[in-house]
């Protein structure tokens, strides 16, 4: 460092130093402020959703009685024990005095003896009037629902539970009546389990709070279109 050099720079030095001295103090103050955590982090994670136990219930929707019996005053009776005493009409399409709880909503199949055996009341009726045991309802359903029975027999229609490999454990093919009520066979609608509430799929609550669009990556393109959100920007080709 030469003397001439230092003297020549000296006049310009003090203002520069004056500008610089407060910077460390500002930084220290800022550090102190940040350590005090004045704006604490608020997690976007909501509380865990309440999932009803039915949402993970693995039992079939119906528990059919494969051996129908009536219990009166502690005594158990089979169907035939009443029906032998009180003979049925030759044909009937609705319960007259008994079995009023049964609502028959099986399409055009509206007659009791299409399925129930008139001769043997402890069995179903096959195509020639012979008996089908109560515990083998698929054989009865197969009378009309051939393709579905074929699929069911191959495990393609209906539930399979247990093991995918029958050599390693029991593979249980659920029977028709474990999902369908034979008197009203349409599969019953059910309450859906709670929807996604994940960080990326968006928040259920946003809809309840009146926000127009829930977070849905698949719908982002709609927001960019001039119509704004929702149905207006929906491509016309999907309209009916």
């Amino acid at each position: 460092m030469s003397r001439t050099g230092s003297t020549s720079t000296l006049p310009s030095d003090p203002p520069r130093r004056w500008q610089a001295w407060f910077v460390p103090f500002v930084l220290i103050a800022l550090t102190g402020l940040l350590l005090a955590d004045p704006w604490p982090h608020v997690s976007p994670v909501g509380p865990a959703a309440v999932v009803p136990a039915s949402a993970t219930d693995m039992t079939p929707v119906r528990r059919p009685i494969l051996k129908p019996e009536t219990v009166v005053a502690g005594m158990t009776y089979r169907c035939s024990e009443c029906h032998n005493l009180f003979p049925s009409p030759v044909e009937t399409d609705r319960p007259l005095t008994q079995h009023r709880a049964i609502v028959l909503e099986h399409g055009i199949n509206a007659r009791c003896f299409n399925c129930h055996n008139r001769e043997n009341r402890d069995a179903f009726a096959d195509d020639r009037g012979g008996p089908i045991p109560f515990d083998q309802p698929p054989l009865l359903c197969a009378k009309c629902h051939g393709p579905v029975y074929r699929d069911w027999a191959h495990g393609v229609h209906g539930r399979t539970n247990g093991y995918w490999n029958p050599k390693l454990g029991p593979m249980e093919r659920r029977k028709c009546v474990e999902c369908h009520d034979p008197h009203n066979p349409a599969f019953k609608p059910m309450r859906p389990a709670p929807g996604p509430n994940t960080l990326r799929m968006g928040d259920r609550r946003s809809e309840a709070e009146g926000r127009s669009e829930t977070k849905n990556p698949l719908l982002i393109y709609r927001q960019r279109l001039p119509g704004g959100d929702g149905d207006e920007a929906k491509p016309q080709r999907h309209r009916r």
């Binding site: 550090t31 999932v51 993970t56 219930d57 693995m58 393609v156 995918w164 059910m190 960080l199 799929m201």
Partner: protein, 335 residues
């Protein structure tokens, strides 16, 4: 002036220089303190143990080393949940390739599969992580962009919709495996793409690469109650995941590799979900692939999924009431 200071306080340190250096040092120290201040909130569990840090890749571990790793994980689970898990490393079966089939003409969108999966696989409840996404689709269209996964009607199915659950398709040409920079994810001989959670660095390339949006990232520490923990665990599937790693559907390999059906198949009330060994000609899925009308999602991206959607010949849905069918028929006849 500076020369005078030098003479008074010794060489190399002026009064002004001392203040300046002290200020710099104090600022630096304070900045470091501020930078590391989040560590105040860190729990000791967040620090990986040396054992975990030095653990080898799944494929490079000897059986003894795997046993050590399993013991460590079981200890950690017991420490956290007070439940001793039955933790194992189930290997793929020989001569088995898993395939999934889903009947979209039967699915009613009840989301039972979603929650059975969450329960079986010890998925995080808060933040929520779900492997299965059930898309509500417009009838007559298969455009995913018009789908909705937030539907919440009083009852399903809704009349003008059908439902398409999407989960990991276990592709034969998985793009997620190709992009992984550390080979933390790979395809097993039985077709299941798995992740070594202890090897994953959380870069999320695989999440971006997946055309089915099937991979999930643990943005936060996965939380689930000890009473909800499924103690039947496997190294590659449902053991509790750490924060900052990817996870995905593994077809419940801790169940399926011992012959059981996955949880989503077990719970499906309609029987829309089918699972089995495609190499076995007598299996349900083989029958479906040979006899049903089958399609795969996003066939054009060339990922060769092992997840097939199929539908029934009649094309309509049997669970709709007979009245609505009649109404459609009479309406069609009147036109």
């Amino acid at each position: 002036m500076s020369e005078q200071d030098n003479q008074l306080s010794g060489p190399g340190l002026t009064r002004r220089g001392f203040f300046r250096k002290s200020a710099v040092a104090a600022t630096g120290a304070a900045a470091i303190a501020a930078a590391v201040s989040p560590l105040r909130k860190m729990s000791p569990d967040d620090i990986p143990t040396l054992e975990r840090f030095l653990q080898k890749h799944y494929k490079e571990m000897t059986p003894a080393e795997m046993q050590t790793a399993l013991d460590r994980i079981a200890r950690e689970v017991e420490h956290r949940f007070a439940v001793r898990p039955s933790l194992g490393d189930v290997k793929p079966m020989v001569g088995v390739e898993f395939v999934y089939a889903l009947n979209i003409s039967r699915c009613i969108g009840c989301r039972r599969c979603v929650h059975a999966c969450v329960k079986e696989n010890n998925l995080s409840r808060a933040p929520e992580i779900q492997y299965i996404r059930v898309l509500k689709m417009e009838k007559g269209s298969i455009d995913l962009e018009t789908s909705d996964h937030h539907y919440d009607p009083p009852v399903v199915p809704e009349h003008d919709s059908y439902y398409m659950p999407v989960q990991c398709h276990q592709c034969a040409k998985p793009p997620c495996v190709k992009v992984c920079p550390v080979e933390a994810t790979w395809q097993e001989p039985d077709g299941i793409t798995v992740i070594d959670y202890d090897w994953c660095i959380g870069c999320r390339y695989c999440e971006a690469a997946c055309p089915y949006w099937a991979r999930r990232f643990n943005f936060a520490q996965p939380e689930l109650a000890a009473k909800d923990l499924n103690p039947d665990m496997s190294y590659l599937s449902n053991r509790p995941r750490p924060k900052g790693v990817m996870e995905k559907c593994t077809f419940c390999l801790h169940r399926t590799r011992v012959g059981k059906l996955p949880a989503c198949v077990e719970v499906c009330p309609t029987g829309s979900r089918k699972f089995g060994n495609v190499l076995d000609a007598a299996s349900e899925v083989s029958y479906i692939l040979r006899h049903k009308r089958v399609f795969v999602l996003k066939e054009e991206v060339g990922t060769l999924p092992r997840f097939f959607y199929y539908f029934d010949e009649r094309g309509s849905r049997y669970h709709e009431s007979v009245e609505s069918d009649r109404a459609t028929e009479s309406g069609g006849g009147g036109e």
